[in-house]
Structures are given as structure tokens and as C-alpha cells.
Symmetry: C2
Subunit: 493 residues, 2 copies
């Protein structure tokens, strides 16, 4: 199976009247979504887009963004999805690196590209006359559908190629694990330009399932949609879930809500336990841009007994832990290595990086984890965040989890700072709860009781907000910029 | 994606403790099912089975039959599934035609093969010591997994090749249409040696869903399982459903029962209407051995408004109606032609038949139907059953539906009989309800009011039972043998 009918066109044929997407104000059926996408496609053709072109998309979460992505599919063009939080420099760098021939931007975002002649705003596109071009009726599973830039473990952004097959198998693997109910509606409060959000849009057409788009994450509104039974599944990262749980107070979600899919990095144990107490059906999951979202997810029956685990691979994907070139034993930490039809075929224009990451069909994630004796994955950390102190491996997430279990701590981030004696030492950054007063000494004392000496943060700073990306994922690398200058000088002595 | 982990092994790894299969007395988890299958595989290896071998299986519906099929998969052998109702001559013919090297038979069925040295009974197999052989950890999607003989439209049995990919995509397409619930359990009361039953076993391991096996169809027990919430989905043909509806009386199924998948030929309208009245969630479906079960199924939201339609193709399969080498217009009857990853790659040792049936990736089913303006399929008849009378096409199912709508008629079958004037004329065979007394004249009069003159049966015979195969499908070709000898002579005059 290498060729399939175009998903949206086929879906519009199979279940035309089903709701495809809604936001707070509008709703569109699959038939309407297809008509709108086909219309954009003919306008994009008028703007010069041809099969095989790379077209950048800089749009916020809204129905038109989904239409533009499908419109590009209908032309056989590849959608480069750009993060709306990037600086003009970073955006321009991606255009140059990818060789994008055009940029479709929200009217309010076009100025990010300066006067770049490749930029066409949605408003300008809507004003074009439709070109009379044939639209593609099929998709080739091996062809690149979308491209997303990610820094991965190296720091230099690389364009991850996501094929139609990657998206298809990701959606199928998720359905086989989480099930698929007639009344399902998936809430996309995560950005559509990230794989966490885009994969919801792909599932929507493949399943024939409505999705609900939040323009930006709003915990109160999200809770309201869940309480009202309007959404049954939601994708979140820990920071989002934390805010929703706080906003929820003593209330409990109704039975209609069946899955809180929690990705974006290791989750703090206290949060998982709070959700367990409140009966929130949290499914921890592990995945990344290179695996077109989830590749490992905890199955329903283990959500309570395997708290903290990301689960097992989605059918038919596979997983192993590699340590020094050998498969690690249970409980032995090592690099998480995955395989499956939802894994990227590589990086745009980066044959060497592709070869490094993909070996014998296995993708080396650069992340650290272990499996228990039953094969459940526990993600320890992103490899790039690994702190090596005096020859010992120190995982920031472990320290953060301890800090988060202190009653005064609301958020915590840990990173490694250079140290002449130990190579690196962990530094912690903490946001205290309102009115809480624990000071550095008290928290260090708290850590010393719970962690080996080398894991106790050398310094703990109190800050108002932790650096997070648009998907609310903690950016540990940026923590260092928060260290006061005087301290930096001191630590170098 | 051409290679996957072996489904049962992977499922036993992912959800070992989930129930895989139960009958009235026993239940096995996926871990237990895998262990049992692996053990049979090592015994089969001891009996001489090697990768690539064709091994016939003649077994009745029971857990061991599923284990044997998986055991053959674990050796890379192909399972030729034989119908337990066949005569010794027919069974032997299949062995010779296929080149099967071994037959695994239920202890009570081994005598069907006379003294054939290739036959190993389950009892004898169980007594063998396990050979120390490596078991296959993967399946190749393009490889043949199972073979089933079918007469199709030509009358000569042909072995249909079903690949792992065919089974996989069939299961996925079904899940995307019918959904997949955590509490699902699929009742297999249809034979496992037919694709209708085997496909349930394939879905079971791919979904991680329990199945419930009935050794043979029992309407009372089936109703009991549904009423008790033990099964949520069931595959039936019209004759089975008719008996279940009669047995059900005034009772109604609980909400836990979510799908009565009705295949095996066009369904009589009165039955569909009775189910509609009783709130039985009937999903009409169309499929065959060559499509590894369902390929067209009515989606949930159309089950009432499109009563009588088999629905639209399962994602990502496709369908069209061909008439005289051209695609037919809506409502124009023609040959049903299908395409998709669940379609067979052809017939065993029959290159010409394969070429005739598979053209440009499309499979010509030989069945007759039409689509409405929205693309919903209505199956009129199996081409081989088509009666051509005075140049007019007469579809037996249409006449049967009229007869079945008469209050005295329980079952009806129609076939064409040679006639010197008209070429063919329809003859009807009717089983009356207990105590009912309508005679031939009354039923003919009833038909005349509802059918064009050329469609009214020339003769109507009253019989005690209609000829059906093991899957309860009406065997119209055999109806002719029920015509009294004196009548045959008369009709030839």
C-alpha cells in the first residue's frame, strides 16, 4: 500500500455531514472543509505553488490553518510549519535552509519576514482568483507531507521530514491504543505548527472525528469544554495540565472525558498523583517531531499501576534501550531507540544527520530512559539536558520532581552549570506558590533528605516564570541565561 | 512499511493480561494464547512444517483452531483453512490443488481424508515433543498468511491468497469505521474457516480485543451473551439474524451491544425493518473472501436513513460500478469493482483467473450493484445468480425480499430454471412459518401485485429447509436439485 485516496477528499465523500472542526464560533463539516481547502488550493496555484514545492506556513491555531495544510496536500506541495514565537532571524533562517518558495502568513504575522517577496498573507491569498488546476486525488505514503524544524539534541535546527505514511500510521497506532468512539472530539489547545497539534488534525480526517481548536491555551475554557462534554480527548504537556488541575478546584470531570494525553517530556510525579486522586484519565506518552507525535503511550489498564511510565510502543512500532552499543538490561538507563512506520525518513538537506540518527531502520532519539522488566518505558531526560557531575549522571527531571513535591513550589527547572571541580553541577530555578516563603536553604535541606549529595542543586534561584516554548515545554537550555551576572563570574573562579 | 512484529507476540508483550479469547468454558489472555501458539508451533516443526509450506487446517470453531493458525504464522507457513462441511472428495481436491504438505485436523474429522498420510490430528500433534526451532518474530505484509477456497462466480473452486497486509488493513479499516471501545468483545458464531470468522480473530490480536467463540451458532445463547453485556459486536448473515430476532421476542438489546455486522449477501428489507423497530444496531456490509471480509460497510450515522445499503468503502479502500467497460451512472446497475490494501493479490496457481479478476489494481467481484447519487452501494445480487429472462435481468434477491414480506413466509430462495421460451424463468423455494398455510397460488398473486410480470416465479415449491453453507449463506445454485423430477421433465418440453 503506497498510494491512498487523498484523506480529506475521501473523508468528505464518506461522511460529508460529520463535523470536522470547530472553534468557539464556527464549525465546519468535512464536506465544507474539503470545499474550503480545494478553494485555497486553487488560489495557491494562482500564487504559483506547484507540486513538490516547499511552502512555509506561519499561522496561529485556527480553522484556516488546517485548510491551508490540506490545500497544500491537494497540490502535492510540502508544508513547512513555522513556530509563531520565533524571531524574524530564526524564521528567515528556516526559509533559507529549506528553500521554501513561498510563505503563507496570517495577516498580523507577515511583518516578521521584513519585506520578503515570498510572503503572501491570508488576506492577499483570499483576494486571488482561483486557478483552474487539477487537484491531487491521492497521496503517496512515502512522500513528504510536512516539515517541522527542531533543534533535537544538537542545537542546530534541522527540518524533520514527515511523510503521509508517518501521519497515517501515527493516527492508526493511536486509535489501536486509545480506541475510537463515535462521540469523540479531540481538543487542540497545543499549537497546530507543532506535531502535537498537527497530529490531531491528521487524526480528524483519518478517523472522521471532529476536533476543537483553541486559538491559544486557556485552562478555564478547556475545563469548561470537558465539563460540558464537548471534548472527550485532549493533548497536553505537564505545565498545561498543572494549570487545568489548579483551575478545576474540587470539581471532577464527567465520564464523557476519556483521555488526557500527556506528552512533551517527563511528568512530575506529584501532578500524576493529583490527577489520579481526581480521577483524571491521564495517559502518559512519549514522542517527538521525528516520530510524528506519540510512539509510546500507556495503555488504559496501566494508567494507575504504572504511574510515571510512558507505556509501551504503539502497534506496530518497537522500542529498545541502547547503552554503549548494546541493548540495556531492564532498569538500566540508556538511549531510547525506536522503530516504526511513523518514524521520519530523515532531515531536510542533512544526509549526515539523517545517517547518524537512523541506523538499520532504528531511530536514535538522544533521549534517556529505561524499561522495567515488563517493557514499560520510563523517560528520564532529554540527552541534551543530561548533567554529568563528577562522572555521575544527573537527570534534571529527577531533581525537579523532588522540588515540585515541596508544598511551596509551583514550578521548577534544573540545568547544568560548568564547574571547575565537578565538570557540571545542577542549578535549580523555582517559581514559588503565591504567598509561599521557603528560601534557598530550606529547599536545599529538603533536597538533601531526598537525593544523593551530587544531585542536590548547587544554587536555587527564585524566578517569576520558567522559560517555555509555545507548546509549554520547559526550555532547560535557557535557564542559564537567568543566572545573575555576578554569580556567573563567581562560578567560573 | 512491509515488515511488522508478529501480531500475537507483540500483543502478548503490549497487553499480556488482557483476555484474548473465551468460549463457554475457558478464557485465555494474550500471553497465554501466545504461549500456547508457540508451543503448537514447536510441535508443528517437529511434525515437519517449514517456512513457506502450505498446511491445511480442518477444525471446528474453538480456541485451539486460533492457536494453530497463529502457530503456522510463527513458522512462516501458510494456513489453508478448510470448510468442515465439505465432502471427502472436495477436501482431497483442495489438498491436491494447493500442494498442501500436511493437514491438521480435529480428532473427529480426520477420517474425512481416508488414510491420507499427510493428516495429523490435534491429539497426535499434542503428543509430539516440541522441536527446538526459532519462531518468526515478524510478519511480511506482502506474504501469504492464509488461503481459502471459494467458487466465486465460475463454479471451479480457487484458492484465494490472503496476505498479512490484507488482514491488517481489513482490521484497521473496520476499526476506523466502527470504532474501537475499551470494553469491546466480538462474538464469532460464524465459522473461523470462513473469512467472516477468521477476520474476527485477526482483529482480536491487532486491536487487543477479546473475542468470544461459539462452537456453532446458537441464537438463544447469542442473545444471552448480548443481553448479559458479554459481547458488544457480532458478525451475522441474514438467516442467523432472522433466528435471533425471532428468539428475542419482545425483549430489547442493552446499550452495551453496539454493532450487528450483517454480511453474506443482500439482506431482506423486512428483516432490516424489524431490526430498526427493535433498535438493533444493524450495520450492513459487503465483502468476500477476496477482500479479507468487509470492504464496504454502512457508517453508524446512516444505519437508519440508508436502510438496505451496504454503505461506502472502508478507509482507504475504493469502489466503482462498471457497466460495459465504462463507469456506471448513479442508480445504474453494473459489476461491483473494488480496490484497496485488503484485496487479495490473486488465486493460488491460477495466473489466468488472477489476471481476469485483477485489472489495473481493481478487483472485479462479479457481483451486481449500483450506487446512489451520494455513493452508497446497494448490492443487487451475485452475478452467478443473475437470471436473464426474455432479455430482462432478474435478481433473485429482489423476488426473495417480496416473498419474505408475506406474513406466512419464513425463508425464501429463488433461482433461474431453463425455459425454452424465455431462456430462464425464476423458480422459488419457500419455507413457511409454523402453522402457516399460504399456497402457491396465493403467493404468486402476492408477487404479481408487487413485481413486474417477468419477475413473478413460474413455480413456487414448499420445502422444510433451504440449502445453506456453513456460514448460513443461501446456496441458490443448489435450489435446482430440489425440483421434483417430474417437473424437470415438464419444464424441458
Amino acid at each position: 500500500m503506497t498510494t491512498m485516496p487523498n484523506w480529506l477528499k475521501q473523508r468528505a465523500f464518506l461522511t460529508p455531514e460529520r463535523t470536522a472542526v470547530r472553534d468557539g464560533e464556527r464549525a465546519k463539516t468535512f464536506a465544507e472543509l474539503y470545499e474550503a481547502s480545494a478553494s485555497w488550493a486553487r488560489r495557491l496555484a494562482a500564487a504559483g505553488v506547484r507540486e513538490g514545492d516547499i511552502v512555509a506556513v506561519l499561522m496561529k491555531n485556527r480553522i484556516e490553518m488546517i485548510e491551508i495544510v490540506h490545500a497544500l496536500f491537494l497540490l502535492g506541495a510540502r508544508a513547512l510549519l513555522q513556530n509563531v514565537r520565533l524571531t524574524p532571524y530564526e524564521l528567515g533562517w528556516q526559509l533559507d535552509d529549506s528553500g521554501a518558495c513561498l510563505v503563507i502568513a496570517d495577516d498580523g504575522l507577515a511583518d516578521r519576514f521584513g519585506g520578503d517577496g515570498r510572503v503572501v498573507t491570508i488576506g492577499a491569498l483570499a483576494a486571488l482568483l482561483e486557478a483552474d488546476v487539477p487537484l491531487k486525488e491521492t497521496v503517496e505514503l512515502d512522500e513528504t507531507a510536512t516539515i517541522m524544524y527542531t533543534s533535537g539534541t544538537t542545537g542546530t535546527p534541522k527540518g524533520v521530514l514527515q511523510t503521509y505514511g508517518n501521519h497515517w500510521w501515527s493516527a492508526v497506532g493511536s486509535a489501536l491504543n486509545l480506541g475510537l468512539h463515535e462521540g469523540d472530539c479531540w481538543l487542540a489547545a497545543v499549537p497546530l505548527f507543532h506535531i502535537s497539534g498537527l497530529s490531531i488534525a491528521m487524526r480528524s480526517v483519518i478517523y472522521g472525528m471532529p476536533m476543537y481548536i483553541q486559538p491559544s491555551f486557556d485552562p478555564k475554557e478547556a475545563n469548561g469544554l470537558i465539563m460540558g462534554g464537548q471534548v472527550t480527548i485532549m493533548s497536553v504537556v505537564a505545565a498545561m495540565l498543572q494549570r487545568m488541575v489548579a483551575e478545576l478546584g474540587e470539581a471532577r470531570y464527567p465520564d464523557t472525558f476519556r483521555c488526557m494525553l500527556l506528552g512533551g517530556g517527563p511528568a512530575p510525579q506529584p501532578l500524576l498523583e493529583a490527577c489520579k486522586e481526581k480521577g483524571i484519565p491521564v495517559y502518559q506518552t512519549y514522542g517527538m517531531t521525528e516520530t510524528s507525535s506519540q510512539i509510546v503511550t500507556l495503555a488504559p489498564e496501566y494508567s494507575l499501576t504504572k504511574l510515571g511510565s510512558a507505556g509501551k510502543p504503539l502497534f506496530p512500532a518497537e522500542l529498545c534501550i541502547m547503552q554503549d552499543g548494546k541493548q540495556a538490561a531492564p532498569y538500566e538507563a540508556g538511549e531510547i531507540v525506536v522503530k516504526g512506520p511513523n518514524v521520519t525518513k530523515g532531515y531536510l538537506h542533512r544526509p549526515e544527520a539523517t545517517e547518524r540518527a537512523l541506523r538499520d531502520g532504528w531511530f536514535y532519539t538522544g533521549d534517556i530512559g529505561y524499561v522495567d522488566e515488563e517493557g514499560f518505558l520510563y523517560v528520564l531526560d532529554r540527552r541534551s539536558d543530561l548533567i554529568i557531575s563528577g562522572g555521575e549522571n544527573v537527570y534534571p527531571a529527577e531533581i525537579e520532581a523532588v522540588l515540585l513535591s515541596h508544598p511551596d513550589v509551583e514550578e521548577a527547572g534544573v540545568t547544568g552549570v560548568e564547574d571547575e571541580t565537578w565538570g557540571q553541577v545542577p542549578y535549580a530555578f523555582v517559581k514559588r506558590k503565591q504567598g509561599a516563603a521557603a528560601d534557598e536553604d530550606e529547599l536545599k535541606q529538603f533536597c538533601r533528605q531526598r537525593l544523593a549529595k551530587y544531585k542536590v542543586p548547587a544554587r536555587i534561584y527564585f524566578i517569576d516564570a520558567l522559560p517555555r516554548n509555545a507548546a509549554q515545554k520547559l526550555l532547560r537550555r535557557e535557564l542559564k541565561t537567568l543566572i545573575p551576572e555576578a554569580e556567573k563570574r563567581a562560578s567560573r573562579l
